[in-house]
């Protein structure tokens, strides 16, 4: 997202530089991937979470929306592994379904920004000149807005819920991708082989399509692993504020909000959905670090 924290990421103090001489040869890279501990750990954590989310309809123990007012706020038991909430709904089942909604939203929401941002960033970095200046100014402007302030206001303006989330991120999140991709395109430009290709008579379209985009897309995907963490955090935060995924659909954020009133006696109601978010974050961060390592040339 635009105004999210900016810093060098592990394994890529300057990821753009890491691109130097990057050649997409799958075999050595796969071998590298198989030995990268952080990649494997991240993929495992994320794999488990995604599997649980995908299997939710089969492994939930009660319908996630089913209320049972005679069994509200139960402590964890064999019948209800994580107890029940204030409406007697099974927390374990809701947790699974919430994961399904939150993870799916996080992964799908970034598709539009990643596409727009990669295209704009590549073109600006390749052609430079005034389009690049305009893009840089837009980046500066969007980055001036505190992340949550911009997202919350946009979702409020276009309407709460999934639709609002999609529009808000489509409008703002492309900026960060454009920023990352632009700087890596500039680095590639400086390496000279795009100039060489041009000297060899290749058209701009061919240079962009065959030589530059494959690299910038890789870059954007590595960046996306950390971006999705922020998107999921924002979706959960919006849910907590009542602006995100709308009730009765379960969402980790609204589950935390619902549990807040019972914090002193039923601490797990708010704590466990939060831990799911943290676990997702750890998985994605490890995966991102690992990917950056594997894709970095020797």
């Amino acid at each position: 997202m635009s105004t999210r924290p900016v810093g060098s990421t592990e394994g890529g103090g300057d990821q753009a530089v890491a691109l130097e001489g990057l050649v997409v040869r799958s075999h050595p890279m796969l071998r590298k991937a198989a030995h990268n501990r952080s990649l494997i750990a991240g993929a495992t954590i994320l794999g488990i979470l995604i599997t649980l989310a995908v299997l939710a309809p089969w492994i939930d123990r009660y319908p996630p929306l089913e209320q049972n007012l005679t069994e509200i706020l139960q402590t964890p038991s064999w019948a209800h592994w994580l107890g029940t909430d204030q409406l007697g709904r099974d927390v374990w089942s809701r947790l699974l379904w919430a994961g399904r909604f939150d993870l799916a939203t996080g992964f799908i929401v970034v598709l539009i920004p990643i596409t727009i941002g990669t295209i704009i960033g590549t073109l600006a970095g390749y052609y430079k000149g005034w389009p690049d200046t305009v893009l840089s100014r837009i980046i500066d402007i969007v980055m001036a807005f505190p992340y949550y302030v911009l997202i919350i206001t946009l979702v409020f303006a276009v309407g709460k819920g999934i639709r609002g989330i999609f529009i808000a991120f489509a409008l703002t999140d492309w900026v960060t991708y454009a920023r990352t991709v632009r700087s890596s395109t500039l680095v590639i430009g400086r390496l000279g082989w795009s100039a060489a290709a041009k000297g060899g008579g290749l058209s701009d379209v061919r240079i962009l399509g065959r030589h530059i985009l494959p690299n910038t897309i890789t870059q954007a995907i590595v960046y996306a692993t950390s971006d999705i963490v922020y998107v999921i955090l924002a979706v959960v935060t919006l849910g907590y504020l009542g602006l995100g995924i709308q009730a009765p659909q379960p969402d980790w954020g609204s589950m935390i909000f619902d549990g807040q009133a019972f914090m002193t006696t039923k601490w797990w109601l708010s704590t466990i959905p939060g831990l799911c978010v943290v676990l997702t974050g750890i998985g994605l961060s490890l995966l991102g670090d690992g990917l950056a390592d594997v894709l970095r040339p020797e």
């Binding site: 105004t3 810093g7 402007i141 807005f145 505190p146 206001t153 309407g159 963490v229 935390i256 978010v277």
Partner: protein, 309 residues
């Protein structure tokens, strides 16, 4: 001149945030006046609001009206409280500024020692542990961290108030400790990562080798030579991440029931009080621009390399 160049750079950004703040209203589907006032507005009130925003005029006249209001330091009267937005903002801004200031201090107090230890003990146990902090911390939602801190330190241990910020200055400070810590934790993971890299660079610099070869004690090298040169990257990093920190305080204020700008914005959202939402958004963005300007100018003062580049 660096100072002038940097000031000139800020102008299009301020203009840009003005335009975006203006267009936020136009994003509301349908007729904004109708959507916002909804059932609580009579047809006359809706017509009045349309006139005030110039909704019947072309867009550039609407923008001109908006700019004129902004020049008077306002984004219009609150639809809910019927007072100028700036009055509401002025009464709340102190809380948020104190929270942001406290949170900044906390994030420095946490980041600098940890990043330093990690850099000095590179690849040893301490470094491995500290490097795991960002991994876990990045994915922690601020509101959840706040709730957990309340549960542990306010409810169970009873060391801090559960929320609110009291009436006297000592009470304010006391009440701000947990919220400030929560907000700081939102950016600490990133600061640690980046500052550790920055420190490693400083440690490998020639002047550090020189200082050591002169026979200076390691502590002196660290305090005098390393720390001094690490201040600039820390400052720049803080400047870049202040926007995220400010954003985090919005949610943190809600969790800790602090009556700052964030709470004002969130309650304005539930009241569909758009002028207030607009005003707070603008003030937030403007403060980020100003803070960035100040950190950049300070960094340039401290480091001639920035000034002269």
């Amino acid at each position: 001149m660096y100072v002038i160049r940097r000031l000139v750079q800020a102008i299009p950004v301020v203009l840009g945030i003005t335009i975006i703040t203006f267009f936020l209203l136009r994003l509301i589907p349908g007729d904004p006046a109708m959507t916002l006032l909804g059932n609580r507005g009579t047809p006359e009130q809706i017509a009045l609001l349309r006139a005030r925003w110039g909704l019947n005029e072309p867009i550039w006249i609407q923008f001109w009206l908006f700019l004129k209001q902004l020049a008077h330091g306002d984004t219009g009267a609150s639809l809910f409280y019927q007072v100028p937005t700036r009055t509401l903002i002025a009464s709340r801004i102190g809380v948020t500024m104190s929270l942001v200031a406290f949170a900044t201090v906390f994030s420095i107090l946490i980041t600098v020692p940890l990043a330093t230890i990690a850099a000095i003990r590179k690849d040893r146990a301490a470094d491995q542990v500290i490097r795991a902090v960002p991994l876990v911390g990045l994915g922690m939602p601020s509101f959840w961290v706040g709730l957990v801190l309340i549960l542990v330190f306010a409810v169970n241990l009873g060391w801090f108030p559960v929320g609110g910020w009291g009436d006297t200055i000592p009470e304010h400070i006391y009440g701000l400790i947990l919220p400030a810590l929560t907000s700081a934790l939102a950016i600490v993971p990133l600061l640690i990562r980046s500052l550790r890299v920055g420190m490693l660079e400083v440690l490998q610099a020639d002047y550090i080798a020189t200082a050591r070869s002169k026979g200076l004690r390691e502590l002196r090298v660290l305090l005098v030579h390393v720390a001094r040169n690490a201040i600039i990257p820390t400052l720049t990093l803080l400047g870049i991440n202040i926007a995220f920190l400010i954003g985090a305080t919005v949610v943190v204020e809600r969790v800790f029931q602090l009556n700052g700008l964030g709470s004002l914005m969130l309650s304005a959202i539930s009241n569909r009080d758009f002028p207030v939402v607009q005003g707070v958004t603008f003030v937030f963005a403007l403060s980020v621009v100003i803070i960035n300007l100040v950190t950049d100018l300070t960094a340039a003062r401290l480091d001639p390399r920035i000034r002269l580049s």
